[in-house]
């Protein structure tokens, strides 16, 4: 059985705080939340922490992740001077570069698969 959801939240919160603490003390140039995520991942892989202890809250959080993106969008629209940020060339850069990163990934992954297939022959 899983733990009660309050305990689950406290565990995840503990990893977040631990991440911030460790990043601060060791001067790791990563955001504390990412350090916390890595620590949680390591604890899961090594079996220190059981997946069922945090699974319910973690899945709930990720399922409703969309909610957390709405406030920044709303704040952006409440700001005046939106047109300062969105010049046409910013849009071009956004569109072209996302196509580049998509095709770059696909070509590199396919290239690797081809190499591997040739090795097998």
């Amino acid at each position: 059985m899983g733990l009660s959801w309050i305990l689950q939240v406290l565990i995840i919160l503990g990893f977040l705080l631990l991440g911030y603490g460790i990043a601060d003390v060791l001067h790791i140039p990563l955001p504390g939340s990412i350090v916390g995520m890595i620590l949680l991942f390591i604890s899961l892989v090594t079996g220190i922490l059981k997946l069922s202890w945090i699974e319910r809250v973690a899945s709930f959080q990720l399922k409703h992740l969309t909610l957390l993106f709405i406030p920044p969008i709303v704040s952006l629209f409440l700001t005046s001077g939106l047109s300062d940020i969105f010049d046409w060339y910013v849009l071009i850069i956004l569109i072209v570069s996302s196509i580049f990163s998509m095709l770059g990934t696909a070509f590199f992954a396919e290239w690797y698969e081809k190499l591997k297939r040739r090795d097998h022959k």
């Binding site: 990720l62 920044p72 071009i92 698969e113």
Partner: protein, 231 residues
């Protein structure tokens, strides 16, 4: 003072209510364009304008969501752990794709920024755009950037692959499951990983792995980017 706190409280509650309403709407009609991200944002902007809520009050209210976002980043360890065996088996392919895609994408941003003579600050906020949203916002916050701009950049750049990606793959004859999943996950993040799940399980797994590993990769190289940009 009490009025301000009341306004902040109102913002938090109304955001949650509108979101839940839009999720319900999305589940009921199952239309792609009813994505709660768009419908809820649109409705909320209308509500805020109607009630003349000022930006500072709303931003103060959204601090709580910002903290929840940090918790969600920690929770991303769970999907990563669930796909650990799959990840171990395919790590070379994943690393090749993610590394290649990130480098090509970042170089294209830097190259075009030179072409259009972009200022350093705008360039800095453009670079983390291809990272999954919770992490992009965290990075942008930590760099002192504007998280709301980052969100817009991330969303615009993930809509592009989402709309033309599948057709482009067909046109360019990219049929490999791994390549398609990785590419969608890296370029369109959560929305892309969700889209690649429609193709199949392997594509879906690759999609979410690409999303998380590219974010990790990015946050690892982020501190060194300022040095790189100076050259």
């Amino acid at each position: 003072m009490t009025q301000i706190t009341g306004e902040v409280f109102f913002c938090v509650i109304i955001t949650i209510i509108v979101y839940l309403f839009c999720v319900h709407l999305h589940l009921k009609f199952r239309k792609g364009w009813l994505n709660p991200l768009f419908t809820a944002s649109f409705l909320l902007i209308m509500v805020m304008l109607a009630f003349h809520v000022q930006k500072p009050a709303y931003e103060e209210g959204s601090i709580i969501f910002n903290h929840l976002l940090k918790l969600s980043v920690v929770s991303l360890a769970v999907p990563l752990y669930k796909q650990w065996t799959f990840l171990k088996k395919n790590y070379k392919k994943i690393l090749t794709g993610v590394f290649g895609g990130t480098v090509v994408g970042t170089l294209s941003v830097i190259g075009m920024a030179q072409l259009f003579h972009l200022n350093q600050q705008l360039l800095a906020s453009l670079i983390p755009k291809s990272v999954t949203l919770p992490i992009a916002i965290t990075i942008s916050n930590d760099l002192g950037g504007l998280s709301s701009i980052t969100v817009c950049f991330v969303i615009i750049s993930s809509l592009v692959p989402l709309t033309i990606g599948p057709k482009l793959f067909k046109y360019l004859r990219i049929r490999s499951k791994g390549a398609r999943g990785l590419a969608m996950g890296l370029s369109a993040q959560m929305l892309g990983a969700n889209r690649s799940l429609h193709w199949g399980e392997e594509e879906g797994a690759m999609g979410s792995i690409a999303m998380i590993t590219s974010a990790l990769f990015f946050s690892a190289i982020m501190p060194f980017l300022p040095l790189l940009l100076k050259i």
